[in-house]
Amino acid sequence: MTTTPARRPRQLSGRPRFYTSYAQQLRMFNTRPKRVSVGVLMALAVLVPFYVNDEVLQLLAVGFVASIGAIGLNIVTGYAGQISLGHAFFLAIGAYTAAALSGDPDERTIGFGITNLLVWLPAAGLVAALFGVLVAPLATRLRGLYLAIVTLGLVFLGEHIFKEWSSLTGGPGVGRPAAVPELFGYRFDEGGELLTRDQQLYLLMLVLLAIFAVLAFNLVRSKVGRAFSAVRDRDIAAEIMGVSLRKYKTLAFAVSSFYAGCAGALLYTVAGFFDPTSFNLLMSVQYIAMVLIGGAGTISGSIMGAMFITLVPRLTRELPAYVPFIAAEPTGVPNVFQVETVLYGLLIIGFLIFEPRGLYGIWVRLRNYWKSWPFSY
């Protein structure tokens, strides 16, 4: 009845908890410190390639790609609560779809020569998502441990097929070239005039991670994200509230495997070559570790966890210099590779017992300590 047009509620400055609309509560950066610190972090990340050597850059680039994969797993496991041990399978699907699409048609392995990143990356994601949708009905029928075992089966299935299908994968011990990162004729995997190969790849992966992270963040703070959490917290209650379990579990698997597919496609572009035996149980466990160590149900936690897990091998390589009884070569006992595997196990156990909310949980506690200053609660 009022004649004045509706006015969009604005938040008053300096009053972070004074919400006058729900949109303000859901904003991505609801406080200025958050905006500033994310901005600074991004700026630092962009500057890093100019100050760090190529070896570390490669590692970081792989970390960024792993982050995309971890975000994917976190969506289905951390947000929607569906434990999936089959992440390596979806990564493999993505990796081979992309490699096959962009591969050289004249090579001995299958290849279609479509090297444009804008084609093979979404394609890898979509094919993986398709498999995710096929797997999803299992999730609507099974829960918890049973789902974990069934998804574990996927890994073995995949491992076997990829080992045998050598025209696609090149066969175990031989492998095939990874997808070619090319965009409108520009090859990221060949050093340019301004930037080296690794600097280019680093920046490419950084941009892609930013895009995927923002998309995921927008998804989880939307109606869909809230439905995921409802399913995770109590599926029966969620269904009674009108959340369709079948729809949202399928969606969770689809989105998660889309992310996994994209991550798989990008994962080996840095190394340039990959082998079908990489997509084994250990890889699934690594991704589970990323989610648990980083923090289940958080996007930034996924990134923290992925970076952490990617950097751990690099750190264990340094161990022999400090701990004399650890051997650097695979023939010694105990060697760095064994230490690495043991470390994953210990880290998962340690985090689950002492810090179930992961690195993100540590960050939250640290933040809350200062946020509640000068009180304790």
Binding site: M1, T2, T3, T4, R7, P9, L12, G14, R15, R17, F18, Y19, T20, S21, Y22, Q25, Y369, S372, W373, P374, F375, S376, Y377
Partner: protein, 618 residues
């Protein structure tokens, strides 16, 4: 020329700034905003609704609700159609509701919810004048209660909308005829002694109060403006909250934010971070107690830092007290460093980070409490006024604060102190019209030449500031013939976070005694930390350890007073004082007579020849 009223002020603002924010109320977790245009629209609808129900000039509309948007709509709409608003405290029990509604002869009651509707339905036979009960919350009432007088708010607004279509401009027409001597509101005093009395405030009284307190910077200095934020949480039927929530809002467009309830004030304060904050002593004491308790139970580093910087704050406070509120280089420096470590975060947590003017009033407060807030950087001012003079009497001005006084008289207000009785008298345009239907009481309170007897005893300090000693009738005269002001001692006791209420007794006795009621939260917390088991309030209050705790407090307070003013013995009250039980007024003031009556044996036991309890001052 037409008379300016609060209603015309809102209308003019709605025309000049239709999209500005008039008020907010937290609903479903979000502060819903009401623009000036919406505010004015609602006032018109309610006004038309009231006209449709046949309300005439001078009729009374009673509002029995917590602070919320509809309170202001109804209040302003009533003013617009030249009727009279009367507010009831949400805590008023049925018997008092009956008295207030019958005495005021209210025709329409706006009741918030089932609780308030139940109260009035219980006593409906005693209320022949009451024609309609409009309820705001339908839950539990709609389609359950049959009483034909009941009317749901939304239906009432629909009636208003229909009336407007039929008679457009009827509300504005009535508004244009407003006269300065229209009685705008009836404010019932809390009644510590007898039944409540209804003070009539006219349009002119209110306009004077707005001039003195708002434009003149009497209660907020520099004067309030439309970018100021307020939290409305004290009962709106009290003159103090009415000034801040309704009159400040109407006069200069201060944005009013309604707290969800009395229990969430602390949380809401931290969310809203108001720029102007008025509190009664109880609120300030509670915030202070909260700070003490929560810093004491913080983790070590926080505790050490808080202890250090609170000590610095205490020093800053003392310096400010000496300089009247003006900073020196030293205090500025100390505050700047402390701001980084404590004051910024502490003020943010308790919701006073953006407060540019804080005021305490409506009851006496211990200077220590004010000093604490000054020390942590909250510009705190004690102000003084009462319903009968539209709250226009005195206030401490920024930079000229004298702790322990209530400040200087407002410009345009005359104030004198009776040389014989020491009573404070005021005279100005804001002095009320009279008590509703109580000629005798009006004659006692108001001299024919306009001087108002405040009933407070006071004295001049340095010729400029006024110090209120006590309520005249509360002064205790001991058998030694000494006049003692109990409130000063009581407030000193109440500074302790452990003491909620203290009542000093000793009228016509050899020495002073006290009845003490503990603060259940803090003493409970204290007992828990010392592993002292307890079950109920009474059990806790009567624990020997708690008695010792209180004895310590009493002794510390005694040290500051002359021998004659010291508490020689005290007793713990076995229950929490309560409005329902008639021990407190709606404004949480102690009804001394009721207390003396109910706990007479406790008082007697203090003066029993051979006290079983050990004496305090030994």
């Amino acid at each position: 020329m037409s008379t300016t009223t609060v209603a015309t002020r809102v209308r003019d603002r709605a025309r000049s700034r239709p999209r500005g924010i008039a008020m907010r109320e937290k609903d479903f977790g979000v502060w819903q905003e009401v623009t000036w245009a919406e505010y004015w629209e609602n006032i018109q609808l309610v006004g038309h609704g009231l006209l449709a129900l046949g309300l005439d000039v001078g009729d009374r509309v009673a509002i029995h609700s917590e602070n919320r948007r509809e309170w202001l709509y109804a209040d302003l709409a009533t003013a617009a159609i030249r009727a009279t608003t009367m507010g009831l405290y949400p805590t008023n029990p049925a018997a008092e509701v009956a008295y207030l509604l019958a005495h005021s002869g209210s025709k329409i009651l706006i009741a918030e919810d089932q609780e308030q509707v139940d109260k009035v339905l219980e006593v409906i036979e005693q209320l022949p004048d009451l024609e309609r009960i409009i309820y705001l919350e339908p839950r539990g009432i709609r389609r359950r209660y049959e009483d034909p007088k009941l009317l749901y708010w939304d239906d009432f607004l629909a009636i208003g909308a229909r009336h407007r279509e039929e008679f457009p401009g009827a509300v504005e027409g009535r508004m244009a005829k407003a006269r300065p001597d229209d009685v705008m509101t009836l404010i019932y005093t809390s009644g510590t002694t007898g039944p409540p009395k209804g003070a009539m405030l006219s349009v002119d009284n209110v306009e004077f109060a707005i001039e003195a307190l708002v434009s003149g910077g009497g209660f907020t200095s520099p004067p309030p403006h439309d970018r100021d934020l307020l939290l409305s949480y004290l009962p709106l039927c009290h003159v103090a909250e009415r000034i801040f929530s309704t009159w400040f809002n109407a006069a200069v467009g201060v944005q009013v934010n309604f707290a969800e309830s009395v229990d969430t004030v602390v949380v809401n304060l931290a969310e809203v971070q108001p720029t102007i904050l008025f509190g009664v002593p109880r609120i300030w004491e509670k915030i202070l107690a909260g700070v003490n308790i929560r810093t004491a139970s913080a983790s070590p580093l926080k505790r050490i830092s808080a202890r250090l910087w609170l000590r610095v704050a205490d020093w800053i406070g003392s310096r400010l007290v000496r300089s009247g509120g003006r900073h020196t280089v030293g205090t500025r420096l100390g505050y700047a460093v402390g701001w980084v470590f404590l004051y910024r975060s502490l003020r943010d947590r308790i919701g006073v980070r953006k407060v540019r003017y804080a005021a305490s009033g409506a009851a006496p407060i211990a200077p220590e409490v004010l000093k604490f807030f000054m020390g942590i950087g909250v510009p705190m001012h004690e102000v003084y006024g009462m319903t009968e003079n539209s709250a226009v009497a005195t206030a401490n001005r920024p930079g000229r604060v004298k702790l322990g006084t209530v400040g200087e008289p407002h410009p345009g207000a005359e104030l004198r102190i009776d040389p014989e009785t020491g009573e404070i008298l005021t005279r100005h345009r804001g002095v009320f019209v009279g008590y509703w239907r109580d000629e005798a009481a009006t004659r006692i309170a108001k001299e024919p030449d306009g001087w108002l007897h405040t009933g407070d005893v006071g004295e001049w300090v340095d010729g400029t500031h006024v110090k209120v000693t006590d309520r005249m009738k509360d002064i205790i005269i001991t058998t030694g013939g000494k006049n003692i002001s109990p409130s000063e001692i009581e407030n000193a006791l109440k500074t302790s976070p452990y003491i909620k209420e203290a009542v000093v007794v000793g009228e016509r006795r050899k020495f002073l005694g006290a009845l003490i009621s503990i603060e259940l939260d803090t003493v409970g917390d204290w007992a828990q930390r010392r592993k002292i088991p307890y079950t109920t309030y009474r059990d806790l209050a009567e624990r020997p350890e708690v008695r010792d705790l209180v004895r310590e407090v009493v002794q510390r307070v005694n040290d500051r007073f002359a021998t004659i003013e010291q508490i020689k013995d005290f007793r713990m009250l076995p229950k929490e004082l309560d409005h329902e039980d008639g021990e407190l007024t709606a404004t949480q003031k102690v009804k001394r007579a009721a207390l003396a009556d109910r706990f007479g044996d406790l008082v007697e036991s203090i003066y029993a020849p051979k006290g079983a309890d050990a004496e305090v001052s030994r």
